[in-house]
Symmetry: C2
Subunit: 215 residues, 2 copies
DNA sequence: CTTCGATTACTCGTAGGCGAGTATACGTCG
DNA sequence: CGACGTATACTCGCCTACGAGTAATCGAAG
């Protein structure tokens, strides 16, 4: 089992990969990441940045190289990546690419509690989601196309992937909506009453027992 | 703008939805969630559970109803959902269903730092991912089929969705692999050298400038 | 030349997340 | 019938995340 990463925040990986190119001070790391649009793919929070950098240093993945002050600015510390840090970044990347994780999204959470709403209410909500999804997809596609000249494909794969996933999600929502609209979704009546009474219909009581043997 | 939720952890929503059915003590909530397999869709951490319940109570979404002790067990507190709590749960569910969020996955993070590895190394990693994905898909499909009789479709949508997303991911990885294998992925040579030297080829230096106007 | 706003660069406080530990009851095997 | 493992039901405390605040610098306007 891969031991836990010394610094688990994904921001740490981002930091490592920029600092591999040249030594930097924290604020600069964030600027570069921001400029590259990496804030779309990863969480970049100001508060976390300094904590993460400090922890990376503590674990020997980064080292302070210079603590000079330019002009009279508040003392900036410039960090350089160590060999250990370089290895960690590569290994981490390998793991992220090779290991498909279970990472439930908030939509999944929403679906799993959907039964608490009336079916009649769910349909317009899903329709709204679909609308927004389609807007995002159009916007993403435009952005991607405009970047194709100038930026090599290699640096756009993550955007391509994100776009593909959104399209897949839209398709799935569309098909669920189709079933709900056509009335072919089973047990709509039971759902209705389940919601109105708030009570679980008897034959679902044993749902509580459904163990998931496959692990 | 929807104000921030009084308790932001998704576990709180799960708690609310089980406690709507009948009053419970914290440990029981967790057991029920676990038994329903909700731990697949949402994070259920023991440590968080009690914090979350306490916060829900503090904000008036739950209320303690009885603090009796059965036998000589350590005093258990049973909680009941309030009207406010019920509303919050419904509203939260609506938001989750209707609002497609930007939630970068770890694979996306991996892709966005993929360039740090040599192309020759990336291919087997992706192949490995595809393998594992296919196993998961097969297992999920089996589990889902075995539950279809007994559990109404309504309570399986989230699993269906998760499965669909995995399949979409697998398809995407497959197509990327095909390009890499066939050598049709552009600039493989540049990638190779980029990785060997660790240095950014000159024409990508302005990549740092690529601003994302669309917001 | 000084005032004002924006940008740069960071610090700090605190709330929340979560694992590891703890204590009690219950079953069961000798 | 007592000793020991296992399930139940939590508590504690560290550590991380992160927003809100702060302080210095720079540029431009008056």
């Amino acid at each position: 089992m891969a031991r836990r990463r010394p610094v688990s925040n994904l921001l740490a990986l981002a930091v490592l990969t920029v600092v591999v190119q040249r030594p930097m001070h924290p604020y600069e790391m964030a600027s570069v990441l921001r400029a590259r649009g990496k804030d779309q793919d990863m969480p970049i929070k100001w508060g976390s940045l300094y904590t993460v950098v400090r922890n990376l240093e503590k674990h020997g993945l980064l080292e302070a190289v210079e603590s000079g002050r330019q002009g009279a600015r508040p003392e900036r510390t410039v960090y350089r990546v160590t060999d250990v840090g370089r290895d960690e970044a590569a290994d981490w990347t390998r793991e992220l690419l090779a290991t498909p994780g279970r990472e439930p999204t908030s939509f999944e959470a929403g679906l799993s509690v959907m039964a608490g709403l009336a079916p009649g209410e769910v349909v317009p909500l899903l329709r709204r989601r679909l609308e927004l999804l389609e807007e995002q997809i159009a916007a993403d596609r435009r952005a991607l196309d405009s970047e194709r000249d100038g930026v090599p494909r290699l640096f756009l794969v993550e955007s391509e992937y994100a776009l593909a996933m959104r399209e897949a999600q839209a398709a799935w929502v569309r098909s669920l909506l189709a079933e709900l609209d056509a009335g072919t979704f089973p047990e709509l009546a039971a759902w209705e009453s389940f919601h109105r009474t708030g009570e679980i219909p008897p034959h679902v009581a044993d749902l509580a027992e459904r163990g998931r043997p496959a692990d």
